[in-house]
């Protein structure tokens, strides 16, 4: 097992795989940074060029591109509050407030550092667990997945801070919004106001961009300063963030494992991972008062999960043919082209290919981290530019980002509506993250509840693993209510 693990590292580092990896990293960097094209579309354009390549070489190109695109999306999230994709929105919650405090460099360093460490931990976790991975994954039927999602919803309680009731109400609104779309159980469109656009539900990217980016743009216009209200503390900024990754090593480690776990389970999808990791970072910290106002731990959590989930995501794609994201769906097409059929053989006979994919992920991220570190401090200075100059640029990012969800004008309508809603929510001090988590998890919860009841009847609640997970959820609620009360008086001590 371990021989294959290290052996595939060597094959990724050999020519031409390494050259293709560099090429993929280069393309992915620009695609991730510039809005409008998107990683998924680029992958589908590049796929035909990999015909006839050796699987390891082809995957070096495609996976490097996929991985780096996800990482650089974090940069726009932190600097401008514009999420690259819906799943990256969790980085905004504390990353952008840090930028506003003049700590953009530190936030970027923390995001990159944690996603680097997360990628490595995820790769190691996968390497160790490959022999038991298939049986492990197969124990999670729809019933267990439903219980896991309930556990995820419980994290909402920790995302609300002291405004407990408001948080739960926003989460409820998110759950209601998640029912928009074609109901698979009756094939009847729900709340679609006669628009087939909404049949597949509210698209996450325009919602998240509207909710989080628009209020920031308005705020920037009102303040009339740069994004950073005060001087950017350039010296040591990025380094400080890197150090934070290890200062709070507990959060980094646990969130990396959460990312890997969520990624490994087929049918949960990557967009859940970062939110759950953020929720965990908040919940496991004794002093929660600074979360949402620029706490570096709130950047480390989703950052660590960001990359480890990519590694985990490879498993359902190659092991079961169930891709966790649009990018993975294209990679799945790539496998078939190369004669690799997802299934048990991928985790035995073709294990070298799987490990080489994991290594590609790790190496591409190391490269991009090193490259970014060299100019992150310069990028961070963007936050000092006057708002009147930055606003048109940010609006461009906002509109292109929302529009690339479906290339439909209605994407912009959704984005603007949620932008107005998000601005009002900020004014009245209602928390927005629970809404997004409700929207993300609501769809999955409904799906797996229906399948569980259909397959097992109500007795699905009596399955041992389901009972265990639901007990955990109850425990988490009790714990967070108790500690929530305590934290009001608690001194801001670091854990």
């Amino acid at each position: 097992m371990l021989e294959t693990f290290w052996g595939s590292l060597l094959s990724v580092l050999s020519w031409p795989a390494f050259g293709l990896l560099l090429l993929g990293t280069f393309i992915g960097f620009w695609i991730g940074l510039l809005p409008g094209i998107g990683v998924v579309a680029t992958l589908s354009i590049l796929l035909p060029f990999t015909f006839g390549m050796h699987p390891i070489n082809a995957m070096a190109l495609l996976i490097a591109l996929h991985a780096v695109g996800a990482t650089t999306g974090d940069i726009t999230s932190i600097l401008f509050g514009v999420p690259g994709e819906g799943s990256a929105a969790a980085t905004i919650l504390d990353g952008h407030p840090m930028a506003k405090k003049g700590e953009a460099g530190r936030a970027l360093g923390a995001a990159l550092g944690s996603s680097l460490v997360g990628g490595l931990i995820g790769a190691l976790a996968l390497a160790v667990s490959v022999p038991v991975l298939r049986p492990f994954v197969l124990t999670f039927t729809a019933a267990e997945l439903f219980a896991l999602i309930v556990l995820g919803l419980v994290f909402i309680a920790s995302l609300t801070g002291s405004l407990w009731t408001r948080g739960v109400l926003m989460a409820g609104l998110g759950l209601i919004l998640s029912t928009v779309g074609m109901d698979p159980n009756s094939s009847i469109p729900r709340y679609t106001v006669g628009q087939p656009y909404l049949w597949e539900g509210l698209p996450l990217a325009p919602v998240a961009i509207g909710l989080f980016a628009i209020p920031e743009v308005v705020d920037l216009a009102v303040r009339g300063t740069g994004i950073a209200g005060q001087d950017v503390r350039i010296a040591g900024g990025v380094l400080e963030g890197l150090k934070d990754t290890f200062r709070y090593w507990g959060i980094t480690l646990r969130c990396s494992l959460i990312g890997t776990f969520v990624g490994v389970i087929p049918g949960l999808g990557g967009s859940v991972a970062q939110w759950v990791a953020y929720g965990h970072a908040v919940q496991s910290s004794r002093d929660k008062s600074r979360f949402g106002n620029g706490d570096v731990r709130g950047v480390l959590g989703p950052g660590a999960a960001n990359n480890s989930k990519e590694g985990g995501d490879i498993i359902p794609t190659v092991g079961f043919g169930v891709p966790g994201s649009g990018g993975m769906a294209i990679l799945l097409g790539g496998f078939l082209t190369l004669g690799l059929i997802p299934g048990p053989e991928m985790l035995t006979k073709h294990l070298d290919v799987v490990f080489s994919m994991v290594w590609t992920l790790v190496i591409a991220n190391i490269i991009i981290a090193v490259v970014c570190l060299s100019f992150l401090n310069k990028i961070a200075k963007l936050t000092q530019i006057r708002g009147s100059i930055m606003i048109p640029c940010i609006l461009f990012l906002v509109f292109m980002g929302a529009f690339s969800a479906n290339n439909d004008l209605l994407d912009l309508v959704v984005m603007i509506l949620f932008g107005v809603f998000g601005y009002i929510a900020v004014l009245l001090d209602w928390p927005r993250p629970p809404l997004v988590l409700g929207l993300v998890l609501g769809r999955l919860a409904e799906k797996y509840l229906y399948i569980s009841v259909g397959a097992f009847g109500l007795s699905f609640l009596l399955r041992p693993l389901v009972i265990l997970i639901l007990l955990l959820a109850v425990g988490a609620v009790v714990y967070s209510i108790r500690s929530g009360k305590g934290s009001v008086q608690a001194l801001p001590t670091e854990t």
Binding site: L43, E200, F320, N406
Partner: protein
């Protein structure tokens, strides 16, 4: 009569040449767009990408061919756009989900703004063969399904889709209740449900199953109990040559309701890779498109690319497509209502 032959040939030659000349300037230097009703990454997109690589060669004037994605409503958004808003000049064509277009059209769903009888059909890339399969270690025969202690569990993506109708046909034929479970996010997830034991069986598409799960069929993890069959000559339904030992559902259950259900489902299967142009696309351009499309599907270079991507190709011309659509539109309102109540 014999004297007339050279004259007829000559005239038709001149006609052809003038036609070619009039078409050549039209597509020369232009961009032809294939609008796909799904996001990048799925089967519809893969077919369109490969076709785009070769179609330009087979159209006089060699236009640049690009693929655009317009997801939403399982290709209903793209259908509405193409039918109403796209210019009917032959420069925009679409690859849309036929079964969805059909069932929502005859079922008069809200938000449907196209008329299936009015599309300018171009051709079809592939036909699907439905199969009904069970896990070998569950209830792997119709007798076992009939005598099972609980209704057997079958998984689907959406209620009322083609696979569900096939499952309903089995239910009608057997006369026992089956447990249909919906909400899976595609074939991969349904197979995962089978593997982890929450499902006993499913209906699937033979072509994609041979690509995605060849070891399951060969290794005996699942057993195919019935097939929808493919359309032979004169539209007669015959067993697919790749699974000659599996009976068609109509051989097994020659009932009227089964036949009707299969008719309803078959429009999506027989022309599952349909390409259309907006209504009233100019005849000249439509003719060029139809010919270019068929020639592309028979081009050895194209077929080699398709083979590499495991894309099954069964070329079909516009006439045949139109005949199938015409027959499908004659579906009885009573059956449409019945399918609608099933969907609720």
């Amino acid at each position: 009569m014999k004297k007339a032959m050279p004259f007829v040939l000559g005239v038709s030659f001149i006609l052809l040449v003038s036609l070619a000349q009039s078409a050549q300037p039209f597509y020369a230097g232009k961009t032809l767009t294939i609008l796909v009703g799904y996001p990048p990454g799925g089967g519809y997109s893969a077919y369109a990408q490969v076709i785009a690589r070769h179609l330009g060669k087979h159209i006089p004037g060699n236009p640049v061919v690009i693929v655009q994605h317009m997801p939403g409503g399982a290709s209903i958004v793209a259908a509405n756009h193409l039918f109403n808003r796209a210019k009917a000049d032959g420069l925009t064509i679409g690859s849309l989900n036929m079964f969805n277009m059909y069932s929502n059209y005859v079922g008069k769903s809200e938000g449907v703004f196209y008329d299936l009888a009015k599309w300018s059909y171009i051709g079809n890339t592939r036909s699907g063969i439905q199969i009904f399969l069970m896990r070998s270690d569950s209830y792997a025969s119709f007798e076992a399904i009939k005598s099972a202690k609980r209704p057997v569990r079958l998984g689907y993506a959406t209620k009322g889709d083609g696979h569900h109708l096939f499952g309903l046909a089995v239910e009608e034929g057997l006369g026992v209740k089956l447990n249909h479970i919906f909400g899976y996010g595609g074939g991969g997830e349904i197979d995962l449900g089978l593997e982890r034991g929450e499902l006993d069986g499913r209906s699937a598409n033979l072509n994609s199953y041979l690509v995605s799960k060849p070891d399951w069929i060969k290794g005996g993890f699942v057993k195919i109990l019935a097939q929808g069959g493919s359309a032979g000559r004169e539209g007669k339904i015959i067993r697919d040559p790749r699974i000659p030992d599996v009976p068609t559902i109509l051989e097994l259950f020659p009932k009227e309701r089964v036949q009707q259900l299969m008719d309803f489902a078959s429009v999506g299967e027989l022309i599952s890779g349909v390409y259309v142009a907006p209504p009233k696309t100019p005849e000249d351009n439509l003719k060029v498109l139809r010919e270019g499309f068929l020639n592309t599907l028979n081009d050895p270079d194209f077929l080699a690319d398709a083979k590499r991507l495991n894309l099954e190709i069964n070329p079909m011309g516009a006439k045949q497509v139109e005949a199938i659509v015409k027959r499908a539109l004659k579906v009885s309102p009573e059956l449409v209502d019945w399918v609608k109540t099933v969907r609720k």
